[in-house]
């Protein structure tokens, strides 16, 4: 990929702190117009990486280019929107004034900002016939409304690149849905979205490409489909229906079948849902047959690619999570 096609081109960045290395020799390329996931356990260095992208902290080594230009270039960050993991706004300020201030900091003219603020407030239901929350102070808003305001602040200047740090943490299902819709819309309009998360399901559903990091180092990266096929494994997604009969069956029969090393290499038991990696040379048909014989009532039996979650667990491993936890994000 050439520089101009990349929204972000990071080469060998390292950030050391007194006691540990937060990010070590990390390189990643984010194509323009893609939705990119930065995955890793807590403390893997995701936030540190994002802060370096935004020139909030300086890397000790390596280079960062945004839209093909060095990230320190003035005015470049006006094209970037950022939603930090720890969210907050000026509590005593009116919503409109906070938004106008943050938009002006991104180089939007006040009149233009006011116009866009009205549109966004309406779109997110913050101005209705009964009440215009735009004139309220931030601390008069509910938590959910504050999250909306913060999200508006991220997008108000119509950034070509949007960086969201753990955007789903703390969101209620309705706001999470709104956020997901907004990301999809940004992508449709050709904008680039990067978000960090440790929830693999979100990443798998939304991302075109991902990078998994642990202990400050890249574990793997690439398009989601490539990552999933490259393992060369065959998985079965199995869901069981629950009734009093199957509860007993599970205890005896199903557990017995899944422990058969000729058929199953390993499986991830989620109680009702199983992600099963077939043993080399095993026949999925035979597994299905045995499960039915064992008395399982099957809701779903599907040959699938391994999930990001499973790849993540396999590649990062329990040790990675634990050592990573002691770090600084």
């Amino acid at each position: 990929m050439q520089g101009n096609d990349l929204a972000i081109d990071v080469r060998g960045i390292t950030k050391r702190y007194e006691e540990h290395v937060a990010v070590r020799d990390l390189s990643l390329q984010v194509p323009r117009g893609s939705v990119y996931g930065l995955l890793g356990p807590n403390g893997a260095g995701k936030t540190t990486t994002i802060r370096m992208l935004l020139d909030i902290i300086k890397p000790d080594a390596g280079s960062i280019a945004i839209f093909g230009r060095p990230s320190t270039e003035s005015g470049l960050l006006n094209r970037v929107g950022y939603l930090p993991e720890e969210r907050g706004l000026y509590r005593k300020m009116q919503v409109r004034r906070v938004l106008r201030f943050l938009a002006e900091l991104k180089g939007v003219k006040p009149a233009e900002a006011d116009k866009r603020i009205d549109e966004w407030l309406q779109r997110f239901g913050l101005t209705t016939k009964e009440k215009d929350w735009g004139n309220s102070k931030i601390d008069e808003l509910s938590r959910g409304m504050q999250q909306k305001v913060q999200f508006i602040a991220t997008l108000l200047h119509d950034p070509e690149l949007v960086i969201l740090d753990e955007p789903f943490s703390g969101l209620d299902p309705i706001n999470a849905q709104a956020l997901k819709d907004a990301v999809v819309e940004l992508k449709r309009r050709g904008h680039t979205v990067i978000f960090s998360t440790h929830v693999m399901e979100n990443a798998e559903r939304m991302c075109d490409a991902v990078c998994i990091i642990a202990r400050g180092e890249k574990v793997l990266d690439g398009l989601v489909t490539e990552v999933r096929t490259s393992s060369g494994r065959r998985n079965v997604a199995l869901a069981l229906a629950v009734d009093s009969g199957t509860l007993a069956a599970r205890e005896n029969g199903v557990g017995h079948v899944l422990s058969d090393p000729r058929l199953v290499k390993r499986f991830d038991d989620n109680n009702r849902y199983f992600e099963i990696e077939l043993a080399p040379g095993a026949d999925a048909q035979e597994l299905l047959h045995k499960l039915i014989e064992a008395g399982a009532r099957i809701e779903r039996f599907e040959l699938v690619l391994p999930s990001l979650h499973q790849i993540f667990i396999e590649r990062v491993g329990a040790t990675g999570v634990e050592t990573g936890m002691s770090g600084h994000g």
Binding site: L54, I56, N78, P84, R87, G88, Y90, R97, L102, L105
Partner: protein, 444 residues
């Protein structure tokens, strides 16, 4: 630079809009006015009262002595000439009579005095007064030392006039003598010679010092709280992703400094307005003689406040504010709670309070070594130098030099503060040690 203005504008508008700002801006001038007017009013009330001229003079001397006394009393207590012309205050009523009528007149006047809202008392000048120098006074204010002094001295003056007339002195000369008033200016002399203009200079110098100290502490603490708020609400990270921390810091300090200047200009303007407009009313109600209602009447002299000094005060405020506010902002960025913030601000506040401890020796000796040294140090000169300038003249070269040192101090303070701020704003968790902060400065 655009972003600097955006930050400064927000800082300015949000602070000026706050209820706190409005309350303080109105309250302080009222307080200042009261500080000047209440003692002045009390003094004026004591000095004149309304009583001494609201009396009846029973004159049986047949020499016009009563009228003379009345004129003198009137002149001493009269307020604006316009008011006298309007005859709102009739002044002492002189009733000339014979010795025989005196007893009856005393009786009727006593009854008059007993009625509320009428004359407060009467003075008796009988036919023996000129020879025996005995006068009598009876009235509601007979126990007022001030009033009695007034009456006594008015009669003494009138006596002098009558006696001079008897000696054949020309009436114009008599009038000149009895209208003689003195204007004394007080100048201090100490071991170094004439020490400025005495009381007024001390008043001006200390006033400037207190104002500067208060403003710097006040608005500096505001910057600290603002930084702490940005940090604890976590809005800092969003802001820093749009604007460099150095610019954010500079914008905040500039915005808050502009608030300080606005407030001071309003304080001075409102105080001046209140003093010039209310002082005459208040003092007139106390019955004080005021020529034209100027602030001079209540003993405030702005004579020492020249344009040069005014500009110097503004410049020193700006430098002092930038110096302390940036350091306080750095202190605010290091911590996460109000308590920790006060502790982190301590070293900075010590510099400021420490400078204030020397104020006394500067007042006593504004050209001494202590004063000279302190007016060259960037952390004390913003307070000490303008104060010295108010107390006694300082060569302009020294002022320019000290301002240059101040500017240099500001550059250093801002540089140091920006480095601490840059790291501190994103540091959560325990309060950093001094050694850690030193590391931030080195690595930032």
């Amino acid at each position: 630079m655009d972003k600097f203005w955006v930050v400064a504008k927000r800082e300015y508008l949000e602070r000026v809009r706050s209820r706190w700002f409005v309350v303080m801006t109105l309250f302080v001038p009222v307080l200042i006015t009261a500080t000047f007017l209440v003692p002045a009013w009390v003094a004026a009330k004591a000095a004149s009262g309304t009583a001494a001229h609201n009396i009846v003079i029973l004159d049986a001397t047949g020499t016009g002595l009563g009228q003379r006394v009345a004129d003198i009393l009137m002149r001493d207590t009269a307020a604006a000439p316009a008011r006298r012309a309007a005859a709102a205050e009739p002044g002492p009523q002189v009733r000339e009579m014979t010795q025989a009528q005196l007893a009856a007149a005393e009786d009727s006047t006593t009854r008059e005095v007993m009625k509320p809202n009428s004359v407060v008392g009467y003075l008796v000048l009988d036919d023996s007064t000129l020879s025996t120098r005995r006068i009598r006074y009876a009235g509601r204010n007979a126990s007022s030392i001030v009033d009695m002094d007034k009456v006594r001295s008015a009669v003494r003056q009138a006596f002098t006039g009558v006696m001079l007339q008897r000696e054949g002195v020309k009436p114009e000369t008599i009038s000149l003598i009895s209208n003689l008033s003195l204007n004394m200016s007080q100048t201090r002399i100490d071991e170094r010679g004439k020490g400025g203009s005495g009381q007024a200079a001390i008043f001006l110098g200390v006033g400037i010092g207190v104002l500067l100290l208060m403003s710097i502490v006040f608005h500096g603490q505001n910057v600290l709280r603002g930084v702490l708020e940005e940090k604890s609400t976590r809005v800092a990270e969003v802001v820093i992703s749009s604007v460099k921390p150095e610019i954010l810091l500079a914008g905040k300090v500039a915005g808050a400094g502009a608030v300080g200047l606005t407030q001071q200009v309003l304080w001075i303007a409102i105080s001046a307005y209140l003093l010039t407009n209310f002082a005459p009313i208040v003092l007139r109600s106390a019955g004080a003689p005021i020529a034209n209602g100027s602030s001079a009447a209540i003993g405030i002299s702005f004579g020492g406040l020249t344009i040069g000094l005014f500009i110097a005060v503004i410049l020193y405020f700006l430098f002092g504010f930038v110096f302390y506010a940036s350091l306080l902002a750095a202190a605010g960025s290091m911590v996460n709670s109000e308590q920790d913030a006060q502790q982190a601000a301590m070293p900075v506040m010590y510099l400021l309070i420490g400078s204030w401890l020397f104020v006394n020796s500067v007042i006593v000796n504004p050209t001494g070594t202590t004063a000279k040294v302190l007016s060259w140090l960037p952390f004390s000169s913003p307070i000490i130098m303008p104060m010295r300038m108010g107390l006694s003249p300082v060569p302009w070269l020294s002022v320019a030099g000290s301002l240059a040192v101040c500017a240099l101090g500001c550059v250093l303070a801002v540089w140091l503060a920006a480095r601490i701020y840059r790291v501190g704003m994103l540091m959560y968790g325990k309060k950093p040690s001094l050694a850690e902060v030193a590391k931030w400065v080195r690595y930032a």
